[in-house]
Symmetry: C2
Subunit: 150 residues, 2 copies
DNA sequence: CCTCATTAGTACGATGTCGCACTAAATATA
DNA sequence: TATATTTAGTGCGACATCGTACTAATGAGG
C-alpha cells in the first residue's frame, strides 16, 4: 500500500509557495500604478547591495533567468526608476544605477508597504523573524548550489 | 537621513520568493513531459484533503484566483490526471476526482521528486522542518485573513 | 595575430498567471 | 411566485515568466 501522507518537505514548499503568492499580492496592492513587486525587489536590491552592478548579477541574486531580468529592468527604465549605463570595463555589459526618482519612489514604497504589514509585524516580531531567517537563507543557498550542480 | 537598511520583513519575503522559485524549478526538472508543479500540487492536495472537492475550494486552498485554477485543472484534465464531474448538490459547480492514471502518476512523481530532494533532506532533517512549519503555517493563515479583510 | 569558445544582453515565441466581464444556477427578499 | 443579489465556473485579454536562438564582445589557445 503506497504512502499517501505527503512528506513534510512537500508541505513546506507548498506553504512557501502560498506565502509567496499572498505576500506578493498584498505588496502589489499597496504599490503605485503599474509597479510590480519585482520592480520593488530590484530597487531594494540596488539600495542594499549597491548600485552599479550588472543585469546578470541582479538576475543571479534573484535566481531568475537573464531574460526575465531584462524584462523587469526594462519596466524599471520605462518607469524612470533606474538608468542603464555602459559598463566601462566590458562593452557587452551594462551598469544599473538608481535615478533620483527611483530612490524617492523606493522610499515611499517602503513606507507604503510598511503600513500594509503593520498587523503582520504585530503578530510576528522582528526577533521571531530574525530566528527564522538563517534557516531560510541556508535553504536558499543550498537550493542555489543544487541548481548549479545540474 | 532615510533608512536604507531593509526591514527583516522584506528580507523574509525576498528569501521566500527565491526559495519558491528554486524549489519549483528543481521540482519541474524532475517531472515528466509537460507536467507543472501546479499540477503536482493539485494531485497532492486531492490525495491529502480528499477527492470530490470543487475547483473553487482548491483555488482557495492554494490562494490563487479562480481563473488560474480553471487553467491548472484544465491542464490536469488534458493530461488525464483528473476528471470533472457535475456536483450533485449544485448544478453550477463541479467535483474533482483523480483518475487511476492520476493516482499512479502522482505516486511516481512523489518518488521521482523525492530523489531530487535527497541532498536537501540530508541537510534539513524532518525534525528541523517540523519546527519550521508551524510558523510558516501561522504566517500563511495570517496573510490569508489579511487578504479577506481587504 | 587568428580562430574558437565563452559570456552579456536581447528579440522572439510559447505559456502560465490573473483581472474583468459574462452566463447560469442558487439564494435572499419582497 | 417574482425579482434581485450572490456565487461557481469560464472566455478573453493583458502581461509576466522563461527557454531558445541570436548578436556582439571578451578571452583562450594555436
Amino acid at each position: 500500500m503506497p504512502d499517501t501522507r505527503p512528506s513534510p518537505y512537500f508541505v513546506l514548499f507548498n506553504e512557501i509557495g502560498i506565502i509567496h503568492q499572498l505576500s506578493r499580492t498584498l505588496l502589489e496592492e499597496r504599490l503605485p500604478d503599474g509597479l510590480l513587486s519585482s520592480h520593488f525587489g530590484v530597487l531594494n536590491h540596488l539600495v542594499r547591495v549597491g548600485e552599479g552592478t550588472t543585469p546578470l548579477a541582479i538576475a543571479r541574486a534573484f535566481q531568475v533567468p537573464k531574460t526575465t531580468m531584462t524584462h523587469t529592468l526594462g519596466g524599471c527604465v520605462k518607469h524612470g526608476l533606474i538608468e542603464m549605463r555602459p559598463n566601462p570595463d566590458d562593452a557587452r555589459s551594462k551598469c544599473i544605477w538608481l535615478t533620483r526618482k527611483g530612490r524617492e519612489i523606493r522610499e515611499s514604497m517602503v513606507a507604503q508597504a510598511a503600513t500594509g504589514f503593520e498587523g503582520f509585524a504585530e503578530h510576528f516580531s522582528e526577533e521571531r523573524i530574525e530566528t527564522l531567517l538563517p534557516v531560510l537563507t541556508e535553504m536558499r543557498q543550498f537550493l542555489d548550489k543544487a541548481r548549479d550542480a545540474t
